[in-house]
């Protein structure tokens, strides 16, 4: 067999190559000169180049999927999500710069870790083989352990990092065991190859393997009952790292799992779908209920992200057909919104101090001090709650229409109940920001954050949330044409 790469294949690899190159260049830069701004700029440039290289990839692909060895495939689906993941990672990067100015130790390694984690996410977006799936997952997870525990002298962050390391390691072990069981029965690791040989395997062992893989996946998506780490880790991690966990890490996992579901019929076995349905229902109900009595905003957001991914699992249960589109639009709206919410929490806490601003009382009267940030936060919270004219409404609308089409009444009931409960705690945070405070405290804080990249990113995110809510058609067209391959 000839494994030489053609120009077309090398072009398709460009985003991955550029992300790798960014890592190497950033590492060398750190070795020569430790300067926060320089290193941050290098990383931003590198990831932007990777983002721009998606253009040539699109031209080279010309609507056809490009297969890169048995491991990776670059099709419209992969290109769309690689773009989404890169833009999100860039958004998190802009938050990091303002935030880590306040960190006393080495600030530069964070960018190195972030670039490597992004590379892992990109690999997951185009993997069609369990080997690349697993390596991509680990490449995403290992830098995250260090990112969660980045302020090493803060015992809370270290504890959070440790929790994530141990639990995520256990989840990876489960997944690996499941993959081994599938391999033992089919003798293949590629998604399509496994799908072709399913009939030869014993159903009991195949289902056990699928169950173990799903439990590993549910851990990464922090679905109930694998959610216990989420609130602790989100609370302990620096705010921009929580943003990365809630957006890139979860989205990359969902993207590859969706491909898995569409490709391998085993995961659409009635038993697997039943299990997934209950996991989704539990995530929506438990996630929303746990957030009700929380006073810590970061924990509220963690529970809210559990519930949001419960909603998204509706698309996974329905997988194929219009569900692909619904998953795309929901993921897009969720990522923009989550980035906005965590972005506001980051900028309120920037530059980094001993503890982030996180107790709900600390937000009291924020509107009178920082009106713009409060307005952005309000828009984002409304979007998370799924109020019309914001992006969240469009995402949820699509999910519900898919759920109704496929007659998932139990799930639909849970979505409605979950959204109703969710409104309470989103409004609670919002009301707190508009509480009156004594007039002498009503000073407007310096506005220089707007000129900074983090502020600009938040403004753009808010604009996007509103545009998506009012006129989603262009985005729908884009997602529709991008996800043709997996319909």
């Amino acid at each position: 067999m000839n494994h030489a790469m053609t120009t077309q294949q090398l072009t398709a690899l460009l985003p991955l190559i550029l992300a790798t190159l960014t890592t190497v260049v950033v590492m060398l830069t750190i070795a020569f000169k430790r300067q926060h701004r320089l290193v941050a700029a290098m990383t931003v440039i590198g990831l932007n180049l990777a983002l721009l290289s998606l253009g040539p990839v699109l031209l080279a692909a010309n609507g056809e999927p490009i297969e890169l060895t048995p491991l990776l495939i670059v099709d419209g689906y992969a290109i769309f999500y690689m773009g989404l993941l890169l833009v999100t990672a860039l958004g998190v990067l802009t938050l990091c710069h303002a935030y880590f100015e306040g960190y006393a130790g080495n600030r530069e390694e964070l960018y190195l870790l972030l670039a490597m984690a992004t590379l892992g996410a990109l690999v997951m977006a185009c993997s069609r083989h369990f080997a690349s799936f697993f390596i991509g997952l680990e490449l995403l997870s290992i830098p995250l352990y260090a990112m969660v525990a980045y302020p090493v002298r803060d015992s809370r962050a270290l504890e959070g990092g440790m929790k994530y390391l141990v639990l995520s390691g256990a989840a990876s072990a489960f997944m690996l065991f499941g993959i081994a069981l599938l391999y033992a029965e089919t003798g293949a690791l590629g998604f399509a190859e496994i799908a072709a040989k399913l009939s030869a395997g014993r159903p009991g062992i195949l289902l056990a393997g699928a169950a173990m893989i799903l439990s590993g996946v549910a851990f990464k998506l922090s679905a109930v009952p694998f959610h216990l780490w989420t609130s602790d880790v989100y609370e302990a991690a620096p705010a921009p790292v929580s943003a990365f966990l809630a957006t890139v890490s979860k989205a990359a996992m969902f993207v590859v799992v969706y491909r898995l579901f569409v490709n391998i019929g085993l995961f659409r076995h009635p038993l697997a779908l039943d299990a997934l349905t209950w996991v989704a229902v539990a995530s929506m109900v438990v996630g929303n209920l746990l957030a009700l009595r929380q006073d810590n905003v970061k924990r509220i957001l963690a529970y809210s992200s559990i519930a949001q991914f419960g909603y998204l699992l509706v698309a996974l249960v329905a997988s194929g057909g219009r569900a692909t589109e619904a998953a795309g639009i929901f993921l897009l709206t969720y990522i923009v919104t989550a980035l906005g919410v965590f972005g506001v929490m980051t900028l309120v806490s920037s530059p980094m101090k001993d503890r982030d601003v996180e107790h709900i009382e600390q937000l009291r009267g924020l509107f009178w001090k920082r009106p713009y940030l409060s307005s952005i936060m309000t828009t984002m919270l409304l979007s998370l709650a799924g109020i019309p004219l914001t992006a969240g409404f469009v995402g949820k609308f699509y999910l519900i229409s898919v759920g109704v089409d496929t007659r998932q009444w139990l799930l639909m009931g849970a979505v409605v109940a979950g959204s109703a409960i969710g409104l309470y705690y989103y409004l609670r945070v919002m009301i707190m920001m508009f509480q009156p405070i004594p007039v002498r405290e009503r000073v407007s804080e310096p506005l220089n954050w707007v000129q900074q990249s983090g502020g600009a990113m938040l403004m753009a995110a808010m604009a996007l949330v509103l545009v998506l809510g009012v006129y989603p058609e262009p985005f729908l067209q884009l997602i529709r044409s991008a996800t043709l391959a997996l319909r």
Partner: protein, 164 residues
């Protein structure tokens, strides 16, 4: 060949349980070495000789010895020397040593008459086949694994530093 597999697998299970229930870290590590050796024997019986050799050299050889050293070096001082002597007392080593001897005996009886082992698995996997697979279809996995190692290195460097 089947018997070899079952004996080695039983030793692996027993040793791993001992790792989990042992409260003494050094004893647990001794059992972990044994567990890895018996897994290597299992690989050997399945025809994956290369994987078996790597298991012995990399896991039982390098990583476990490193673990034992680190655990013993963490608490330096005159007082701990006694403790180390107690850790490595003869009774603690009897069982792991005896079970390792069983593994060695198995290997010997398999190799004795002909000098090679026929695999219980479907086919023998030679080092050449491993190399061709790694640098053929799995080339990108090898490249990505190098980035994974780099990620681990950077993470360990950052978390392990305490002088800033």
């Amino acid at each position: 060949m089947d018997l070899t597999f079952y004996i080695a697998a039983t030793i692996a299970l027993f040793a791993t349980i001992m790792v989990v229930i042992n409260t003494n870290p050094v004893h647990a590590l001794l059992y972990l070495v044994l567990s890895l050796l018996s897994v290597a024997t299992v690989f050997f019986t399945l025809g994956a000789h290369f994987a078996a050799a790597l298991e012995v050299i990399v896991y039982a050889g390098a990583i476990m010895v490193l673990f034992v050293f680190v655990v013993m070096m963490l608490n330096l001082g005159a007082k701990t020397e006694d403790q180390e002597r107690r850790w490595l007392s003869a009774p603690a080593m009897v069982l792991p040593a005896a079970l390792s001897a069983v593994l060695l005996w198995q290997l010997g009886t398999q190799l004795w008459p002909r000098g090679y082992i026929t695999a219980a698995g479907l086919q023998e996997v030679t080092p050449k086949m491993v190399g061709i697979a790694l640098y053929g279809p799995y080339l990108l996995a090898v490249e990505l694994a190098s980035m994974l190692l780099l990620a681990g290195l950077v993470a360990a460097y950052h978390l392990g530093r305490h002088d800033d």
